[in-house]
């Protein structure tokens, strides 16, 4: 008890130089040699990995040829002596076959594990939940927006076909006190909740906003962040460029746009605009009226976070340059933007209306001083990373664009490390 084991230093030059890069560690047991082993993976550069294994009792790391070939989620879980991670750089839909990356400590290699066929919601919002070890078995917890929880447990690990069994747990409704005492039937009628939500996902925004009036339960589902996530993922046919972190979504409100002063470019999926003097995002997700193909409705998500007014001369600047701002990530009153026209990166401070060009470097002290602490900044960078990744996947016609963005990211990452 309480024993501490110091891991040996790496002898590999790669690990010495890149100690600050993203890395993952996992521990497991090799029953063929009765030894404990530790595996670690580092992302050297985009989609390039280096893997080392350390056997407890020895004093070195061994480099091995197998690597995860995808970004892993932060928390891995050990089960059956092996380590398991969810992959985290997901595209729009679950790719069932390549969802779980596991490290086999006996063979010292990575392998894929099939994801169970969740009853529905085969898109990314349901994969934010971690893998767990449930009484020795690998398990997946899928928290659904209507206060139910599915748990999928792997039944047989050794068989080539992985079987999953499913449990559904009805959670106590906490965010909706007025309905907690009532039975389910009054809330949903006699419909299974997943069918009701499935119907919601197929309704236009306008109908959903009207049906908030049906009951308190419906209102709380439609307003929930997890439903917003699902709805977005389910409705968009193409990958979204913009990734707005869920913690921001709470602050957004859907409004039908009265009159746009300026809209950047409706062909873009998401654009930053100035609306009645404040900052807003047009989301083309709901721009299109599906019935009348020739007619567009403008839907705007208004910023409710410390609404700041961009000075008129700034607006003129954005307008005159035909700038389209993409890849928005924000925290507190600061937003991080990428300007596709100038290929520049900017931080816009909504309180002071100060727009700072950060193409060259981000002064770390700037981020230490203001509202942004290290953690929130990391969140910004994370959300930014994701949006850039999706942008890369999107196949931007401008090849330099991707590299440029990527270089910027590297800088951002190193700045973060310096904090």
């Amino acid at each position: 008890m309480g024993e501490v084991l110091e891991l040996p230093r790496s002898t590999s030059e790669l690990w010495k130089i890149n100690w600050c890069k993203t890395s993952w560690y996992g521990m497991g047991f090799d029953c063929t040699t009765n030894t404990y082993k530790i595996v670690r993976v580092m992302e050297i550069s985009h989609a390039e990995f280096d893997t080392e294994v350390h056997t407890l009792g020895t004093n070195s790391w061994r480099r091995i040829g197998s690597n995860p070939s995808c970004i892993l989620s932060n928390c891995g879980v050990n089960a059956y002596g092996d380590m398991h991670w969810l992959r985290s750089n997901l595209k729009q839909h679950i790719e069932y076959e390549t969802m779980i990356r596991s490290f086999d400590f006996k063979r010292e290699e990575f392998k894929w594990i099939r994801y169970p066929n969740l009853k529905y919601f085969a898109h990314k919002s349901c994969i934010k939940v971690p893998l767990i070890n449930l009484r020795g078995s690998l398990a997946i917890v899928n928290v659904l927006p209507y206060n139910e929880m599915e748990i999928w447990v792997m039944k047989d690990y050794d068989k080539k076909e992985y079987y999953w069994i499913e449990f559904t747990i009805l959670m106590e409704i906490t965010n909706c006190p007025s309905t907690s005492g009532k039975n389910k039937q009054q809330c949903y009628g006699n419909f299974p909740t997943h069918i009701v939500v499935d119907i919601f996902l197929r309704l236009p925004v306008k109908s959903l906003l009207r049906f908030r009036c049906v009951s308190k339960m419906w209102c709380s589902i439609i307003d929930s962040v997890s439903f917003a996530n699902m709805y977005e993922s389910a409705r968009v046919e193409e990958p979204q460029i913009l990734y707005s972190p869920p913690y921001l979504k709470r602050e957004f409100k859907w409004t039908r746009h009265p009159k746009l002063e300026y809209y950047a470019d409706l062909h873009k999926k998401n654009s930053l605009i100035s609306l009645r003097g404040s900052l807003a995002i047009v989301s083309i997700l709901v721009l299109k009226d599906y019935e009348k193909k020739d007619y567009y409705w403008y839907w705007v998500r208004e910023f409710r976070l410390n609404i700041g007014v961009i000075r008129p001369d700034d607006i003129a600047y954005w307008q005159s340059s035909g700038t389209i701002m993409e890849n928005f990530g924000a925290c507190g009153h600061r937003g991080l933007f990428f300007d596709t026209f100038h290929h520049g990166h900017y931080v816009i401070d909504l309180q002071t209306n100060h727009i700072q060009h950060i193409n060259e470097c981000i002064p770390p002290e700037d981020y230490n001083s203001g509202v942004l602490d290290g953690l929130t900044f990391k969140r910004i960078v994370n959300s930014y990373t994701r949006s850039v990744l999706s942008l890369r996947n999107f196949g931007n016609p401008n090849a330099n664009h991707g590299d440029h963005t990527y270089n910027f990211l590297k800088r951002v990452q190193s700045v973060y490390v310096n904090l």
């Binding site: 119907i199 109908s207 908030r212 009036c213």
Partner: protein, 167 residues
């Protein structure tokens, strides 16, 4: 599987109201619940009757009709073509809301993904331009808002109440 070789296998299904259905194997295997019944009981006799305690005869007959047609479409390589759309439209046209609800509950119990998708889409289409009252009646939901609360929620997105169909 059957030692009779080429003979078409028939699956027997018994509904909650005691009716016995004889269904061709490929059609019955569309029902995930029936499929897993036979996966778990590999040595089940050919004349095993699968009990379906949550489904009554009327929706089951409707579901079999739908699945049979879709199994044939797939066999003919017609899946996803206009022919299928036409069949689906005809199939659902005469169905009342009550029948539709029974169908979706049964399809959910039997776990037939393709049919569930089709039925949820149909319900969403039927409901999208309807009033709040219509939707409450459809799902049998009790309004738990006070009139003042409901008015307040309504006010938030008043424009969403424009252009609603007559019930």
């Amino acid at each position: 599987m059957s030692k009779l070789g080429q003979a078409k296998r028939i699956i027997f299904l018994k509904t909650a109201d005691g009716q016995l259905f004889e269904v061709d194997e490929p059609v019955a295997m569309e029902f995930e619940i029936v499929k897993s019944f036979f996966d778990e009981n590999e040595d089940a006799a050919d004349d095993t009757v699968v009990p379906l305690p949550n489904v009554s005869a009327e929706p089951l007959a409707g579901i079999i009709e739908f699945c049979k047609a879709h199994v044939e479409f797939r066999a003919n390589g017609a899946a996803g073509k206009d022919e299928v759309k036409k069949f689906n439209a005809e199939y659902i046209k005469e169905k009342s809301n009550e029948q539709l609800k029974e169908l979706i509950l049964a399809a959910n119990y039997l776990n037939i993904k393709e049919m569930l998708d089709f039925l949820t889409e149909t319900i969403a289409n039927r409901l999208k331009n309807k009033s709040v009252e219509y939707v409450r009646a459809f799902f049998g939901i009790e309004n738990d808002f006070t009139p003042q609360e409901e008015e307040a929620v309504r006010k938030e997105y008043e424009w969403a109440f424009e252009g609603v169909d007559e019930d």
